[in-house]
């Protein structure tokens, strides 16, 4: 079992990176995992160009897998662009964790990415250039 709850996972759970809320965030989104009620909220502050992730933070409540995966995810995307976030999928998160999860636990690991992508998607829709008048 040490393979699953190994040190780097426990370390991210006990000392989460990018933890906390961000004042004046451009994107704020929260969702829960209907399987267990785990919650994650992610705030994103964008750079001047509206594309670069200048600051990012998460808060939440849940199991080691969901919270540690969110911490690793935010470490990965800080300083990248919204377009980079859109390219990420569940497998990328599983690669970050580096341990094998059973089917039901994959949902825990993917919760942070689900929240982040949903928030980014909503931001993109709301800030899309108006279609050209034909």
């Amino acid at each position: 079992m040490e393979d699953l709850y190994r040190d780097h996972l426990l370390d991210h759970y006990e000392n989460p990176r990018h933890h906390g809320r961000i004042e004046g965030a451009d994107i704020s989104h929260e969702e829960n995992n209907p399987l267990c009620g785990d919650k994650i909220r992610i705030d994103v502050k964008l750079g001047e160009d509206g594309a670069l992730i200048a600051d990012i933070g998460f808060t939440g409540d849940g199991c080691i897998i969901s919270q540690a995966a969110a911490s690793m995810l935010l470490e990965e995307v800080a300083g990248k662009t919204l377009a980079d976030v859109q390219k990420l999928d569940t497998q990328d998160v599983l690669d970050m964790i580096g341990v094998t999860l059973t089917t039901n636990r994959v949902k825990c690991a993917a919760l942070g990415l689900k929240v982040l992508k949903a928030g980014v998607y909503r931001y993109m829709i709301e800030h899309a250039d108006p279609p050209c008048a034909a």
């Binding site: 079992m1 426990l10 267990c36 009620g37 785990d38 409540d61 849940g62 199991c63 080691i64 825990c108």
Partner: protein
């Protein structure tokens, strides 16, 4: 009263010899779904091998045999819960469908705007959401019997909660989370005095204790077969005859009609009026075999066995530092489930770590989110027991918890 011969019982459950993660399985999730004895799987296997054909229509031997077995299953289930006649038993997929049938068919025909429906804070989503949806649609008031800090229904509030406008009361006889056993009789008496009908969700009760729907005098009673040794996909709704007769059909189609012309249709008699389409009759026959198995053990003995296991589990868990029991700690009012939280360890992580030891428990909100909101906790861990559970499995659980605490440095 007979005492269960658990060693003999376990020999009827081949799955209990399986190994999980290289270790003998310790299955502590029977409240979600029970394991099946060979008698049940063999009864179904025999139908498929020897007499299978669609019920009710055929005039040939296989169809007659299947129909007879299906009818016998209905008789067995009626007897098992003390129903006056097999016609009081409607076969459904599970208790969820039984409760939806009442909400759709009875609720939509008998309840009017302004009527009140009373449920409780501890309900499973299956006895919560259908009433919520119905209340929105019909402009009903949905009210809740609260729970006490000890996890019991606060029946002192009944006088104010049951009003002349209360038309329907629905509650779980045993909570799937807290394990709370509620005596339905005082609630049913008060509801009937106000002229309300009563639905009892017996999903966690019928598998574990004697049930007599006539003695309870409830109007409807819902159960799931898969929680009481039966297969998945089959459950039953008991209803009083006059109510079932008056209710419109839930689903329509084949088998539930007596006549169909181009401009009119007449419904079949109760209970077939509620069983549109080819029913899960092989599963019903399997449930009949499950009921035979439980009846042979004797339901008072089943309840006594689970009470013993739960009392032992509550005692062992009280020694574990950081463990908090959720719900009643008196085994007399607690069904076969022990629900708990563990300081510093999320139930999901505990579940995964216990799985590494071959121990199966449930973690999460157990389809009772409103209750968890009321309790102020996100998720709980639940170990639940049945006729094949042994005291040594409780010991394995407690040992597994200590190991998990060491692994996670808690």
């Amino acid at each position: 009263m007979d005492v269960l011969d658990v060693g003999a019982i376990r020999r009827d459950f081949p799955i209990l010899n399986e190994r999980v993660q290289g270790k003998p399985v310790v299955f502590l999730d029977s409240a979600a779904s029970s394991q099946k004895p060979a008698q049940v799987t063999q009864a179904m296997d025999q139908v498929y091998r020897r007499t299978y054909a669609n019920v009710h229509r055929g005039v040939y031997t296989f169809s007659e045999q299947s129909t007879d077995l299906y009818d016998q299953a209905r008789v067995k289930i009626a007897r098992f819960i003390g129903a006056p006649a097999p016609e009081n038993i409607v076969f459904v997929r599970n208790a969820t469908e039984a409760l939806n049938l009442v909400a759709y068919s009875y609720g939509r025909s008998a309840l009017k705007p302004g009527d009140e429906v009373l449920i409780t804070e501890l309900e499973h989503h299956a006895n919560f959401v259908p009433w919520m949806v119905l209340a929105k649609e019909r402009d009903l008031a949905l009210k809740f019997i609260p729970i006490t800090p000890g996890g019991l229904l606060d029946l002192d509030r009944l006088d104010e909660l049951i009003t002349p406008r209360t038309r329907l009361v629905s509650f779980a006889q045993v909570s799937n989370v807290l394990g709370t056993i509620t005596d339905p009789r005082p609630i049913i008496e008060r509801a009937h005095a106000a002229g309300a009908k009563v639905v009892v969700d017996g999903c966690q009760a019928a598998p574990h204790m004697p049930v007599d729907v006539q003695a309870l005098d409830c109007d409807f009673y819902a159960l799931s077969g898969h929680k009481m040794l039966g297969p998945t996909g089959i459950g039953a709704l008991y209803g009083k005859r006059e109510l079932l007769e008056a209710m419109p059909p839930f689903l329509t189609g084949g088998d539930m009609i007596s006549y169909v012309g181009f401009d009119r249709v007449a419904w079949n008699d109760v209970p077939l009026k509620f069983e549109a389409g080819t029913p899960a009759f092989v599963e019903a026959i399997g449930l009949g075999a499950a009921v035979d198995y439980l009846s042979a053990l004797g339901m008072p003995a089943v309840r006594a066995h689970e009470r013993e296991i739960v009392a032992y589990a509550l005692e062992r868990m009280s020694e574990v530092p950081g463990a908090t029991i959720v719900g009643p700690t008196d085994p007399d009012v607690r069904g076969g489930a022990v629900t708990f939280t563990l300081a510093g360890i999320h139930p999901h992580d505990l579940g995964t770590l216990l799985d590494r030891e071959g121990i199966a428990i449930r973690a999460g909100h157990h389809c009772a989110q409103p209750l968890h909101i009321r309790l102020g906790i996100n998720a709980t861990a639940r170990a639940s027991f049945y006729i094949y559970s042994e005291l040594r499995e409780v010991d394995a659980l407690v040992e597994g918890i200590y190991k998990a605490k060491r692994t996670l440095r808690r």
